[in-house]
């Protein structure tokens, strides 16, 4: 258990294969530390919270992920935690972080199960009553169920393909329903654990499906719009807006190079006003907003957003 908590916080576990403590496994890199933590865990009355606090207040947790050539040569896999492991956020964290940056995140807990609203029905393409899904989430497309008409209409009118759970609710991802065979796409593409298996370590892959999701998905575009509206409201000039967007999305100001790249992007977006589907009827103001939203989307889409340093 402490091995798994450590892994969750540090990115890698002390026994690198948390599901194999046996003779064929790799064994702990820090046996004494593992024992110490296990004893502390028992003494604290098996308190997960205390254990998280203990690790999170340690020096090793606060180490920077800065790369050091000397150390890298001695320990290329960073087995000894000389620096923090840069790692990709989990699927839930990616979705929640987008919602947090756009100001849409609802930290309340939803009342009851979202799935139960659809009654006792099979959720999936062949169910007698199915969730209305745009193209996209293979497990969930289909006809509309007789109830929940408002939500349905909202989801149906949205283009690009998204699960109803993603496009209409802004709860934290832990509250998203996980129906077997019908995962919300926001989680599915980012290596969500297969719900019917015991998974001690999630994958951290880079797939084209993730890239397509970030570039084209309705939920991502919606959050980019929301972030765009937020920075329009909270900052006056383009420079301030770029700065605010980086602070909201990455929790840091942009570097000089990033400011340059951002300005360049806005200039290039300006030179091609008539872009895209339905662009002909777009006013100058709307066009500028689309560019701003694209910029916000790009921040979400870049590697900086999904990797923790």
């Amino acid at each position: 258990m402490v091995n798994r908590i450590w892994q969750h916080l540090m990115g890698e576990a002390i026994v690198r294969e948390p599901e194999n403590f046996g003779a064929s496994g790799p064994g702990p890199t820090h046996a004494e530390l593992l024992d110490y933590l296990a004893v502390r865990f028992v003494e604290s009355g098996w308190s997960v919270k205390s254990m998280i606090r203990e690790i999170a207040t340690s020096r090793v947790y606060r180490l920077s992920s800065k790369f050091d050539q000397d150390r890298f040569e001695k320990d290329p896999d960073n087995l000894y935690f000389a620096r923090a492991n840069p790692r990709r956020m989990d699927a839930e964290a990616i979705r929640d972080s987008m919602l947090a940056a756009s100001g849409q995140l609802d930290t309340k807990r939803p009342k009851g199960s979202m799935i139960s609203r659809f009654g006792s029905t099979l959720i999936g393409p062949n169910g007698p009553a199915m969730l209305p899904m745009a193209t996209g989430t293979p497990g969930m497309e289909g006809r509309r169920p007789p109830m929940a008409g408002g939500m349905m209409a909202a989801a149906r009118n949205r283009q690009g393909g998204e699960s109803i759970f993603d496009s209409t609710v802004y709860y934290r991802s832990v509250y998203l329903p996980v129906a077997r065979n019908a995962l919300p796409r926001s989680l599915e593409v980012f290596d969500f654990a297969e719900p019917s298996m015991v998974i001690g370590q999630r994958e951290s892959s880079n797939t084209p499906a993730q890239a397509l999701y970030m570039m084209n998905n309705a939920f991502v575009i919606e959050q980019s719009d929301a972030l765009g509206r937020r920075i329009l409201k909270e900052a006056e000039t383009t420079a301030d807006r770029i700065d605010l967007a980086f602070r909201l999305v990455y929790n840091r100001p942009p570097t000089a190079e990033e400011i340059k790249a951002s300005n360049q992007f806005f200039r290039s977006a300006d030179t091609t006003p008539a872009v895209g589907k339905g662009a002909s009827g777009r006013s100058e103001k709307e066009h500028k907003f689309v560019a701003l939203s694209e910029f916000c989307q790009a921040l979400f889409a870049s590697a900086e957003f999904r990797y923790l340093n």
Binding site: R87, M133, V198, Y213, M215, V275
Partner: protein
């Protein structure tokens, strides 16, 4: 990728050079291979030994097609019709359809598959199939993953894991028209997610067009942007990649970022290539006719077969097409001919088309359902599930044509001669692809797993 590097042996060179048409399409892409090779888990890998087949088209007949009415000729069943059966208490039912011998090989095939029967000399019938599961979902899962009990990677995922893919603008494993509740059958379980099947929409999908994206063809999730044009998106992507590049330079050692950069370029190419591949409007009348794409009963499956050919031609490693509703407990006499008719012309067209393009010799075509049906008829006009003996067939890709392997008993109830368990079937498919099923392993939870668990014997007799 056909990339000529110093490590290429004479044998490899010959294999690659003689691989024919399929490779020509990728010649232009070789330049991209070098950079992708290093960190791309999908880059082509050397098989364990020289492969007979390079790619697979799996025609999955969901529901359990009746073998005794299609590919397993049982004259004794006709003679004993009406007698009580020893299998379940109900009476034996003769096949309502005539069987005839076809081709030089004289394979017995029923009148339900007149077009496929013309390819008899290319077919390798495996008439002694059996699996462990008598119910649909579990047998289906076993057919795809080898296990009905645990969640395991699917055949396509193992194939992709073993061989990688030949086209870096395409997913390597495509599931056309996947049925409901089938994620597991195309999933990777513990294998890295990159090997999972990419599901390409359901063509007979109902509901408003908005669900289906543009047009009524099959679709992929998030394949196009609802708001901005490709050129505008390229500008956005350039900006994203610039941010990624800067991150890479800033932080020196960031293995993940390379992967992100690569994934965006692949996705952007896929946006271009996939819709084009799925657009069959450029195909000639003659080709469309070959597949039975004429707006009639054969249209839907014909389109999928044609798309499968376009996919494998473009370098997709494993394409699976599902055709449903073969579960004939009732109305066998009316429904079975309908199902057969829907797939007969398209399958024959696919075989013809693959052959004339020189693809059939190294493309393995597999036909089969999760099990077969019983010789007796518990409901009068219908047959029950039968996992103890049924027929599947293969064609092309290194299997002998005009061959019948194994046999069921006199009535077609139980496989008795040269039995081929689903594990043996998997082992044989992997073998044809140049993979040793005992060596294709992945370490999970402390031990090495295989598609065939601890079972599986390659059916050498059907291999050329």
């Amino acid at each position: 990728m056909t990339q000529f590097h110093p490590g290429l042996s004479r044998r490899e060179l010959l294999q690659t050079a003689s691989a024919g048409f399929g490779y020509l399409a990728f010649a232009g892409l070789t330049s991209q291979a070098a950079e992708a090779e290093s960190n791309n888990p999908l880059s082509p890998k050397q098989p364990h030994f020289a492969p007979k087949a390079k790619r697979v088209i799996f025609l999955c007949m969901q529901g359990g097609p009746s073998h005794v009415d299609t590919f397993d000729y049982k004259p004794q069943l006709t003679k004993d019709a009406g007698k009580g059966s020893k299998y379940g208490g109900s009476r034996l039912m003769a096949s309502p359809w005539e069987f005839r011998q076809h081709g030089k090989s004289g394979l017995w095939i029923s009148d339900l598959f007149p077009e496929v029967a013309k390819h008899a000399d290319e077919l390798c019938l495996i008439r002694s199939m059996h699996c462990d599961q008598p119910t649909h979902p579990r047998a289906m899962t076993q057919m795809h993953t080898g296990s009905a009990q645990f969640v395991r990677p699917s055949l396509g995922a193992w194939t992709l894991y073993g061989l990688g893919t030949e086209n870096d603008s395409m997913p390597g494993f495509v599931a056309l028209n996947p049925p409901a509740a089938s994620a597991q059958n195309f999933g990777t379980a513990f294998l890295p997610a990159i090997y999972q099947g990419t599901k390409v929409g359901r063509t007979q999908q109902r509901g408003p067009a908005v669900y289906r994206g543009n047009g009524s063809g099959p679709t992929l999730p998030d394949i196009n942007n609802p708001r901005i044009s490709a050129s505008a998106q390229r500008k956005q992507l350039d900006f994203i990649q610039k941010l990624n590049q800067q991150k890479l330079e800033r932080e020196e050692h960031q293995p993940g970022v390379d992967g992100v950069i690569e994934s965006y370029e692949l996705a952007f190419r896929m946006q271009d290539v996939l819709p084009e591949l799925m657009d069959i409007s450029e195909e000639s009348e003659k080709t469309l006719g070959l597949y039975g794409i004429d707006g009639g009963d054969t249209d839907a499956f014909g389109r999928q077969c044609l798309m499968a050919r376009r996919f494998v031609e473009a370098g997709v490693r494993f394409v699976e097409i599902t055709h449903g509703n073969w579960d004939h407990h009732f109305r066998l006499k009316t429904d079975l001919p309908e199902r057969c008719n829907e797939v007969d012309t398209p399958i024959a067209g696919l075989l013809t088309d693959l052959a004339q393009r020189g693809l059939l010799k190294d493309t393995l075509v597999i036909w089969g359902g999760e099990f077969g049906r019983t010789p007796d008829a518990p409901n009068g006009d219908g047959r029950d599930h039968n996992h103890k003996g049924y027929t599947t067939w293969m064609a092309g890709g290194g299997v002998k044509g005009g061959v019948s392997y194994g046999a069921t008993d006199d009535h077609g109830a139980v496989a008795v001669e040269n039995k081929c368990h689903i594990h043996d079937w998997h082992a044989t498919i992997l073998h044809l692809l140049g993979l040793d099923h005992t060596r294709l392993t992945y370490r999970y939870a402390g031990r090495d797993f295989r598609l065939t668990d601890v079972y599986g014997n390659v059916v050498q007799e059907i291999i050329t």
